[in-house]
């Protein structure tokens, strides 16, 4: 009974939104890249770098929003690197992405060690505070859940709706989707597939980095190596779950966060009976299960992972 009571608790749903935020950013970022036809496995490293550089900016006196912007900019730069290697050069998107992940995460740890010369507990910043919602905060259940969230969470949800609109209701979205399905046809329609891919990879990578920065600027208040813990790979799985649709990406991230938040609470409820590591495995196993169920029926962008060269088949 206790297990069901947890589902009704405000604390659980507060945690769901908090845990979902980096996943929403990351999944939308990966989705945007893949809609344009490029898999970006740099996500794990880009999130790590975003987490570091956003935190470092704030630690050195910048505002929280500036920190988030700096993180986004760094993500866009890694995206540019990924784009240069995979679009005009047409290198393997799998291996390039992994290379970006290894590079970005090791660079983040290097810069962290370089700029923070400390032993013991890591230095902290004052993170984003919950947004004051006024009368909404008085609504039972919903009020407390929403009024414990910080601004970037709302931003993430807003980005999902914006992406939904842009991808399916604007000429730009049509150009992006065409580039991901058939770049030759897109080119015939006057769209420059190379430019679209560059823009999407950079924008998508910026979103990934913001997801990472949320961890250091809102969820926690300090940076530590290995803090991303596979969230990026989970996002890649969520894109498949979402069938490359932003609305489903938002839903998927929330569902996933529900699994994660629930296992955290189960963990403390069933502490003695079951080793806690089994609970911690839940998100990764869930991601694999999601892939196993969805991968076959997913409608993959047809040109995903196929490099585009003008005039070549």
């Amino acid at each position: 009974m206790e297990l069901i009571a947890i589902l009704g608790s405000e604390g659980l749903w507060e945690a769901v939104l908090r845990i979902a935020t980096p996943l929403i950013f990351g999944t939308l970022g990966a989705l945007l890249c893949e809609r344009a036809g490029v898999l970006n496995l740099g996500i794990e490293g880009i999130m790590a770098f975003g987490a570091l550089i956003g935190w470092l900016a704030v630690y050195n006196g910048a505002g929280l929003w500036t920190g988030l912007a700096v993180a986004a900019l760094s993500g866009a730069l890694f995206g540019l690197l990924h784009a240069v290697l995979t679009v005009p050069l047409g290198l393997s998107q799998h291996v390039t992405g992994l290379g970006i992940t290894l590079f970005a995460s090791s660079l983040a740890y290097f810069i962290f060690r370089l700029s923070v010369q400390i032993e013991g507990s890591p230095p902290t910043i004052r993170p984003f505070q919950p947004v004051e919602l006024g009368p909404i905060g008085d609504i039972p259940f919903l009020g407390p859940v929403l009024s414990s969230q910080t601004a970037p969470t709302y931003l993430a949800i807003a980005v999902a709706f914006v992406m939904m609109y842009v991808l399916f209701r604007t000429p730009l979205g049509l150009a992006i989707r065409m580039t991901g399905e058939n770049p030759h046809a897109a080119e015939a329609q006057g769209v420059n597939p190379v430019r679209v891919r560059f823009a999407c990879i950079m924008a998508g990578s910026a979103l990934m980095a913001m997801g990472g920065a949320f961890l250091t600027l809102s969820a926690f208040n300090s940076f530590f190596p290995t803090m991303i813990q596979g969230r990026g790979w989970v996002c890649i799985a969520l894109v498949v779950f979402a069938s490359w649709r932003p609305g489903w990406a938002l839903t998927g991230a929330l569902l996933f966060a529900l699994v994660d938040a629930y296992q955290l609470r189960l963990q403390s409820a069933l502490e003695d009976a079951i080793p806690y590591q089994l609970f911690l495995m839940a998100p990764y196993v869930a991601a694999i299960a999601v892939l196993a169920v969805m991968a076959r029926r997913a409608r993959v962008p047809q040109a995903l992972m196929k490099p585009y060269r003008r005039g070549e088949r």
């Binding site: 496995l41 690197l81 290697l85 050069l89 047409g90 290198l91 393997s92 799998h94 291996v95 390039t96 992994l98 290379g99 970006i100 290894l102 590079f103 090791s106 660079l107 740890y109 290097f110 060690r113 370089l114 813990q229 596979g230 790979w233 989970v234 890649i236 799985a237 498949v240 080793p275 590591q277 089994l278 911690l280 495995m281 990764y284 196993v285 991601a287 694999i288 892939l291 196993a292 169920v293 991968a295 076959r296």
Partner: protein, 349 residues
Amino acid sequence: MRFELRETRSTALMICAPVAAIAAALVLSGGLIALAGASVIEAYRFILVGAFGSRSSIAETLTRATPLILTGLAAAVAFRARLWNIGGEGQFLIGAIAVAAVGSELTAGLPSAIAIPILFVVGALGGMALMLVALGLRQGFQVDEVVSTLLLNFVALLFVSMMVEGALRDPMAFGWPQSVPVADNATLPRLMERTRLHAGLIVALLLAVVVYLIQARTVFGLQSKAAGYNAGAARFAGVPLGRTLVLVACISGGLAGLAGAIQVMGVRGNVTTDISPGFGYSGIVIAMLANLNPLGVILAACFAAIMFIGADGMSRAVGVPSFIADVTVALSLLTMLVALFFTQYRVRW
């Protein structure tokens, strides 16, 4: 500017590619060293001293290279068949914990000559099992093995953590989470007195040659290459694709698992959750630097080992964080990809 496919690729060009890639990576990380406020020349000199400066540092570099050769081979074998096994890290961990589970008591009474080969097989089987999960998901459910192996790495790490805090916890470790040690009969013989260099290096080198011969001289070797180059054409030519992939997955996962086994039996004696400083991920870089050639893997693994061991010494001497080694190794993957591109294409202005 446009790129034009080269009709032939000269051997000289193929040898130049990794050299140029490593040089470029070293120059780029030199920028970071300068940014950290140290003299670049001095830092690289300390890296060389750290890796080669004394008998013990050479032994330490070779000790580090041993698991890297094996994880590099694991990635190279799989990549050649376009099976993207990124799970070397997880397979390494499972191989290590499997050896701790079996080698602490079950094989303790046996003579070393029997116990050691048994434990090698146990470690390899552990890695194999994890890789076969990923292959099964790919063949049965069309799950991209890149994502599944990456996710399984985290599952494997948590499994090891569960074991070293639970069933396999060492009761003599005063509550420190480490596994029971493997028995003395499972410890690999030392190659050099008063160093950690162990016979695992010989095993790794031999396996590199064996894998090379399998790929160059057997039907299976050709079939796995064909499956990678053009699966459709291979199937048409009568290559049993499913069977070939299963075998490739077994070899790849087995090599990574064996790396874990050897690290436990040769260096650590027991398992902790930090037994692998990213050996599996470095293996991917090493395989690419070697251009998937098993003999090249040996050299590429030595490069990575030199960077890792050298950077530790350099970090103590000039104060540049030793993470610079990880940065250089990661950069060399990216520069190698670019270098390989230019072995395939020439630039026309």
